[in-house]
């Protein structure tokens, strides 16, 4: 499967009403039975429960994505698992108790989606065994609060980097281009681009560490 550059889970269809955006996308990428089911719900309109789900997922989807990516460090696969997880969360939302920890519940669902995905992909190159997956999952759980603090710090630190570096990050992480593709587009050597990305990440990491230390 060739790597596909795409913006990840965030999709925007400029100028289209949301329903039309749904149809436009559905016409291209559809699991028909799911589409029929959810189209009915869209036509029925968004009730409070759906709004609540959208709000909860919006608040937690980024952390969920990071969680999945740590278990499956591959853009395409992580995106796919996130979509499956979102679907599963919606399908199971009726069983979610209001007021309980949505994030913890979502992580559990995501974890089992990862396990399901693994069963169909045993010949993939990077497959952590289940005991390691469990260790990573446990580490994530222990670091939950710290990770949220670090995310805030990262956003602050990003404001300090120069426009060229931001463009490079956008190409590599936002558009999913490979290093050699970016190098070709910038007329730079692969090693130069790799070093530049490493430098930017190292700089961001150092900035985050300093912010956390000052906050202590």
């Amino acid at each position: 499967m060739s790597k596909i550059a795409h913006p990840g889970p965030i999709l925007v269809f400029e100028g289209l009403p949301a329903e039309r955006a749904v149809e436009e996308f559905a016409s291209r990428f559809v699991r028909q039975e799911i589409l029929r089911r959810f189209h009915k719900q869209i036509r029925d309109g968004m009730d409070d429960r759906k709004r609540e789900f959208v709000a909860l997922l919006t608040r937690n989807e980024r952390r969920l994505y990071g969680y999945i990516l740590s278990l499956v460090p591959d853009w395409n696969n992580a995106d796919e698992i996130l979509q499956e997880t979102n679907i599963r969360l919606w399908e199971e939302f009726g069983r979610f108790e209001q007021g309980t920890d949505f994030h913890a519940w979502a992580l559990r669902v995501a974890y089992y989606q990862v396990l399901t995905w693994r069963k169909n992909r045993s010949r993939q190159k990077l497959i952590y065994d289940e005991s390691l997956l469990e260790e990573i999952r446990a580490t994530q759980d222990e670091m939950n609060d710290l990770l949220e603090t670090r995310r805030d710090a990262l956003r602050r630190c990003l404001e300090q980097i120069n426009p060229e570096s931001r463009r490079l990050l956008a190409q590599y992480y936002g558009e999913g281009l490979r290093i050699n593709e970016i190098a070709a587009s910038m007329n730079r050597s692969v090693q130069a681009v790799y070093k530049a990305v490493q430098r930017i990440r190292s700089s961001l990491h150092g900035c985050i560490e300093r912010r956390l230390r000052h906050a202590e």
């Binding site: 060739s2 596909i4 550059a5 795409h6 913006p7 990840g8 965030i10 999709l11 925007v12 400029e14 949301a18 749904v22 990428f29 559809v30 799911i34 589409l35 959810f38 959208v54 709000a55 919006t58 952390r63 990071g66 990516l69 740590s70 460090p73 591959d74 853009w75 395409n76 979509q83 679907i87 919606w90 190159k125 990077l126 952590y128 065994d129 990573i136 580490t139 994530q140 670091m143 990770l147 995310r151 990262l154 956003r155 990003l158 060229e164 931001r166 490079l168 956008a170 992480y173 936002g174 558009e175 910038m186 130069a192 070093k195 490493q198 430098r199 990440r201 961001l204 990491h205 956390l212």
Partner: protein, 498 residues
């Protein structure tokens, strides 16, 4: 949080995301995460940051937090969904985009999208298509000769103050044959297209002659050369240095005198008086750990000692050097210049887990357990001696201490302490480990990462107080009987605090 594994994790994960990770790399990553809880923490943090960068990157390419293109969709979405309890109003555009995603995700799957072989570039990536080759390289001087060939990329600038009247290229700008780089202070890093990492520091002036050739007039330079960069050459007023794999450092002063150190591998060297260099330079070789000072007359003498801060290697820069006045200022030994060209390395304030112990071995110092190097040694100045000096039983090593200090000798528990150690030092009862890497006498040894991993030999930490700036003389090691392998001692020091 200390992150000794950060660089390795960045490398392996980047390769995985690029679909370039080999089976061996996969195993390496899995094993690292299995064995080391700290590595797992670093890994989790790294992946979360990566995910966050991906999430945020859609707005980064335009430099805007709320791309105008999304306004219409956001408006429609908000009208349909009425009021939603967003957690943060600062990222409205992102939250709104995520809401659209949620609606789409509720309705359909992207399975068919992932099976597509086509790459779709979303319009909101920015007004300029990301694959469009820029018309003008950022920072490119206006008067570039049309025949000059781009051969390198300037990848980092740190506090550079450019020399007046000289070009001031930006980060990520291309450098070409014929370019002259001159700056009065700071540090810059260049990556040559042929795989050479090059660092210039301090007051510098140099010119790019070809894809693998520089002429240096002044400054401190380090070069790390990959396979495709073999033959990388730096000319100075009194010498010509050619790398034959892999890393060396050069320092040129205002009089054209040159210091050369081979950090790793081999370099070929020509030297002679500046006026005759091009005609008949003397050919020589420097091996790992060896250094020469070449004076204005082209006569070389042994470069006994260098400091990592004055003549850094590329690898040493991955640690943030402490900036305080040195405790260990110089090292001399009793070996004659004709008998040795070895050059000690002093690293100020850098003692930590996984630091190289010796100039001529890959061995590293490590704490015996996960708590890391002993507190008394953490952050010390330390010296990288030559492990092979263990065979010089009569050697005398003079350590210049620049201010009141505690001087430490790290001595192997497998050896009987010599008289000079027993007379001048006391055993602190603190131990440290040596992680021995592969070398000709032990071809199967391997290096671990982090404290308490792969410890091969235990050393005791001996100390003495040095009440005022002094020169302390250390002795040699008597060759043990019935012992297969043994190691030279280590040297460290920190300020004396009363």
């Amino acid at each position: 949080m200390n992150s000794p594994h950060w660089l390795l994790i960045h490398k392996l994960v980047s390769m995985s995301l690029d679909d370039e990770l080999s089976e061996a790399g996969s195993r390496q990553l899995s094993e690292l995460l299995c064995k080391d809880p700290q590595a797992r923490c670093t890994y989790v943090v790294y992946l979360q940051e990566t995910a966050e960068l991906r999430w945020l990157s859609s707005g980064l390419s335009t430099g805007e937090r709320e791309p105008r293109r999304q306004a219409g969709v956001i408006r429609d979405l908000r009208n349909q969904a009425a009021t939603l309890p967003f957690s943060s109003l600062r990222e409205n555009w992102l939250v709104a985009g995520a809401c659209v995603t949620c609606i789409v995700a509720l309705c359909m799957l992207m399975v068919g999208y992932f099976l597509s072989n086509k790459r779709d570039k979303p319009d909101f990536a920015g007004p300029t298509h990301p694959l469009q080759v820029p018309d003008k390289v950022v920072g490119e001087p206006e008067a570039t000769p049309p025949s000059s060939m781009p051969v390198a990329t300037l990848t980092r600038l740190t506090n550079v103050i450019w020399t007046q009247g000289q070009p001031a290229p930006n980060e990520l700008s291309r450098l070409r044959v014929g370019d002259t780089i001159a700056f009065d202070s700071g540090e810059l890093e260049i990556v040559f297209d042929r795989g050479v990492e090059f660092l210039a520091r301090g007051k510098c002036r140099f010119r790019i002659e070809s894809p693998l050739h520089l002429v240096g007039g002044l400054g401190t330079f380090s070069a790390k050369v990959g396979e495709s960069g073999r033959g990388f050459r730096i000319d100075t007023p009194t010498s010509s240095i050619v790398d034959r794999g892999t890393e060396f450092g050069v320092s040129i002063d205002a009089q054209g005198q040159t210091d050369v150190v081979c950090f790793q591998g081999v370099v070929e060297l020509s030297y002679g008086p500046a006026t005759s260099l091009s005609r008949s330079g003397v050919r020589d070789r420097l091996y790992q750990g060896e250094g020469l000072h070449i004076g204005g007359g082209g006569i070389p003498i042994r470069l006994v000692c260098t400091t990592a801060s004055e003549l850094p290697s590329i690898g040493s820069l991955r640690r943030n050097p402490a900036t305080f006045s040195p405790v260990i200022s110089d090292i001399l030994d009793s070996l004659s210049d004709t008998a040795s060209r070895k050059s000690y390395r002093i690293v100020h304030g850098g003692f930590a887990d996984d630091v190289l112990a010796f100039i001529d071995r890959p061995h590293q110092w490590n704490g015996l357990d996960k708590s890391g190097v002993p507190e008394i040694l953490s952050g010390c100045d330390y010296v990288m001696p030559f492990n092979d000096d263990k065979f010089s039983e009569e050697i005398q090593v003079e350590v210049d201490i620049a201010r009141p200090a505690i001087l430490y000798v790290l001595f192997s528990d497998g050896l009987d302490p010599p008289k000079w150690l027993l007379d001048q030092f006391e055993d602190t009862n603190v131990d440290i480990g040596l992680d021995e890497g592969r070398h000709k006498r032990s071809p199967t040894s391997s290096i671990g990462i982090g404290p308490g991993v792969s410890i091969d030999t235990i050393f005791s930490v001996w100390k003495r107080e040095v009440a005022k700036p002094s020169t302390i003389v250390l002795g040699g090691i008597k060759r043990p009987e019935n012992v297969q392998g043994y190691n030279m001692y280590g040297i460290a020091a920190k300020p004396l605090v009363r």
